[in-house]
């Protein structure tokens, strides 16, 4: 006999924790299942350990327990690859998703962006400017089923309820001094001012201004002042890839989960590994099957089931549950190419101080604002300064190609240059393509005998052209900044997985051509919601998390409104 609750949330990261908070807060009895541990802020009080959190990625599951395979095209044999740490640094699977309470919001660098209005209409925007013929043949570019205006109220909720620091650029159509003049209208300012900026941030901003651009401090999911019981950032510099030791970072294990637990209607079951979504003969989702912390098989029933396990595991769970009638699950895999660009300044920049996100950025050539160009680049990107978060071991992974890799020259290079480096990056999105997708690996299984997820992704011509164009602009900024020496990542970088993967359970109106509707509910399986970056029909040039969170708030509202209408969902008392 299985146990029954109102709602099950699988995965307690960016979207799952928000669903848990919203549903439990409204009186539903919610159980959260996460395959990782249950973390609280206390667990990370002494997290200043590069080896543990960067090199060895302590927050991520091991490939031995959670294998995943990769190949660059379907002409190749996919293989399990180690997470890119240690001797395998900067390999194809550069940064794996985290597990445990908070999920990716524990390790994220906290660039907290809204997508631009044009990014919800990417196909239309490109076709109107460059013509339909400019769209690559294999592309599955579409417009989103919702627009910026649908999400604006939810972006606002993310910023005010989760906590985002920043400088508004456009409040209700009025441009704000010091903000991003290209920003879409927002209903109000951020709840907190921008973070104190990293040492070289102002130098970067000056260079941008001298070139006629409009830099502004990046919006950050980090408290710049004390915020709702959380401490302000103390600028330790162990931030991206690290948990926060003072709960300044907006991680859902310190935002939504404590509030969900305080409702009295929410229970967390850590180390619970969901392996199947159960359905009734009509196709409706009825619950999940999981292995508990002892490895015992359990079943749990609910009227609402939310998968918030990241684009990759969400797709895998749908596939192993046989939810893929139209063949769309796992298609349209998208990611970012970062165009890493590093140089040295004459002064000490101390790249280990403060978070990377505490830096200026410029949006002049982003997305649909991409300048006219001969290269055929259809979509731009912000140019983002990277001010902090670089500890010594990581620094050895980012050196000029001709710098010595060992010996006295290596030692001298590090001593002379590490403390003078400054980086910039961009994030040009890949276009969804019929060539790139995830499916179940035909041979590799996990320790429970379930198929591993197989990623098929390679870089294509447009990816290379887009980075080529933007690197030119970074070079002009570097020159203006007075950088002495610069070096750039390969145009086709070695990584294919960097916790920016999206698109694998596309949302759309047409049940034949998408997996979920615009509230994240599976077309084929009522009662089942698949949330996260997997919903994105196309990819913006921005970090995905704030949009993931905004979509989660919107889905929570929808579920509660539907529940209110039918009044049959809640078994627990409100309050």
């Amino acid at each position: 006999m299985s146990e029954k609750v109102d709602a099950i949330v699988v995965g307690l990261g960016a979207s799952g924790a928000i669903l848990a908070e919203q549903l439990a807060g409204a009186g539903l009895h919610v159980v959260g299942l996460d395959k990782g541990p249950h973390f609280t802020g206390h667990d990370f009080r002494f997290k200043h350990d590069e080896l543990r959190y960067f090199t060895r990625q302590a927050l991520s599951p091991h490939m031995g327990t959670d294998p995943m395979t990769w190949r660059s095209s379907d002409r190749e044999q996919a293989a399990v690859l180690p997470w890119a740490v240690g001797a395998q640094a900067m390999g194809p699977l550069f940064l794996p998703p985290s597990s445990g309470s908070g999920g990716g919001t524990v390790h994220w660098a906290a660039w907290s962006w809204r997508f631009r209005p044009a990014e919800f209409q990417m196909r239309t925007a490109i076709a109107e400017r460059f013509g339909e013929s400019a769209i690559p043949e294999d592309s599955t570019l579409v417009d989103w089923p919702i627009g910026y205006d649908d999400l604006e109220p939810y972006y606002d909720r993310v910023e005010w309820q989760q906590g985002v620091s920043g400088q508004a650029g456009n409040v209700n159509g009025e441009l704000q001094p010091g903000g991003n003049p290209f920003e879409a209208p927002r209903r109000r300012d951020y709840p907190m001012p921008p973070l104190r900026q990293g040492a070289a941030s102002e130098r970067f901003a000056e260079a941008c201004r001298a070139l006629g651009y409009h830099p502004f401090p990046a919006p950050a999911g980090i408290a710049s002042e004390d915020f709702e019981g959380r401490s302000a950032c103390v600028y330790c510099g162990f931030c991206r890839d690290f948990p926060c030791h003072v709960n300044a970072k907006t991680s859902t294990h310190v935002t939504s989960l404590p509030r969900a637990l305080a409702s009295g209607n929410f229970e967390i079951r850590p180390y619970a590994r969901v392996f199947r979504v159960n359905r009734d003969p009509s196709g409706r989702a009825t619950g999940v099957a999981y292995f508990d912390a002892d490895g015992t098989e359990r079943e749990l029933e609910a009227g609402v089931i939310v998968l918030g396990c990241y684009a990759l595991e969400n797709a895998r769970l749908l596939l192993v549950s046989g939810i893929n009638e139209n063949g769309q699950v796992g298609r349209h895999f998208m990611t970012h190419n970062y165009g890493w660009f590093t140089g040295t300044l004459p002064e000490w920049t101390n790249p280990f101080m403060g978070p990377a996100v505490a830096c200026n950025v410029m949006d002049d050539i982003t997305s649909e604002l991409v300048p006219d160009n001969d290269e055929g680049v259809l979509w731009g990107s912000p140019i983002i300064g990277f001010a902090g978060d670089v500890q010594p071991i990581e620094a050895t992974l980012n050196m000029p190609e001709d710098a010595p890799t060992w010996g006295q020259g290596f030692k001298d290079w590090l001593r002379e240059n590490y403390r003078r480096t400054f980086s910039m990056y961009s994030q040009t999105p890949t276009f969804p393509s019929s060539h790139f997708y995830c499916d179940l690996d035909p041979t590799v299984t996990d320790r429970f005998g379930q198929p591993a997820l197989r990623i098929t992704h390679g870089w294509v011509e447009h990816d290379v052209k887009a980075v080529t164009l933007i690197q030119k602009l970074k070079r002009s900024i570097a020159e203006e900044m007075g950088m002495q020496r610069i070096w750039e990542a390969p145009l086709e970088p070695p990584y294919h997985l960097s916790t920016h993967e999206v698109g694998t359970h596309r949302m759309g109106e047409d049940p034949r051509a998408s997996v979920v509707d615009h509230f994240g509910q599976c077309h084929e399986c009522p009662g089942l919601y698949a949330l996260g970056g997997g919903q994105f029909p196309t990819y913006g040039s921005y970090n995905p998390t704030e949009t993931i969170m905004a979509l989660a708030y919107r889905t929570a509202d929808h579920i509660l409104e539907s529940a209110g209408a039918s009044s049959s969902l809640a078994t627990a008392k409100s309050g």
């Binding site: 101080m353 030692k411 001593r415």
Partner: protein
């Protein structure tokens, strides 16, 4: 000195790894490198624990390295002078860059072929290099970076609770900040705050 603390290597293996590490980040008492940081102690502990997967690569790589050195230079790696040690490592490193060849043609005149195994030496050197870097720049809690010499070499202040606005100014000399380790940070902060 090294042998008092070993949990994975035997003494001879430890001496070889220490000698390789000392060429990857060279140093002496006045200007410490990987040897002075105790990188080999870090590697030894890592292989007995978190990096158990590397056990075979190290055991085989160490054997291959000495076999290669004996064939080419007439003695094991630790008995070569620094110049010859660097020559050996450069040779192996070049193999890394040319995509792990299975066999290298070495030796003048007769073009004697020495089997390097299927890229084992190259893979081994890449691993020792990475682990030497870790053992030099990790927190001292892991057995390497003794007295934080690796951090001092770079001017990195280590595990700091946070930085002030003054310290975050462009051009600030971070070597003026006393270096702190995780152990020191715990000692200072354990009692305060929310505990």
């Amino acid at each position: 000195m090294i042998s008092d603390e070993l949990v994975f290597f035997n003494e001879s293996e430890a001496r070889t790894v220490d000698a390789v590490a000392a060429r990857i980040i060279p140093g002496d008492d006045a200007d410490p490198g990987a040897r002075e940081a105790g990188a080999v102690v870090y590697i030894d502990r890592a292989l007995a624990g978190a990096y158990g997967d590397f056990e075979k690569l190290y055991r085989r790589g160490l054997w291959e390295l000495d076999h290669y050195c004996r064939t080419k230079h007439g003695g094991p790696f630790v008995e070569l002078d620094e110049e010859h040690q660097d020559e050996v490592l450069s040779h192996i490193d070049a193999a890394t860059e040319s995509q792990l060849p299975t066999q290298l043609q070495i030796g003048a005149g007769e073009r004697q072929a020495v089997d390097l195994g299927p890229g084992v030496l190259a893979e081994f050197f890449a691993a020792v290099r990475q682990h030497t870097i870790e053992g030099t720049f990790c927190d001292p809690a892991y057995g390497g970076n003794r007295d934080a010499v690796g951090w001092r070499l770079l001017g990195f202040p280590g595990a700091q609770w946070g930085y002030s606005a003054e310290q975050m100014r462009l051009g600030f000399d971070a070597t003026t900040i006393p270096v702190s380790t995780l152990k020191e940070l715990r000692g200072e902060r354990r009692s305060d705050g929310d505990r």
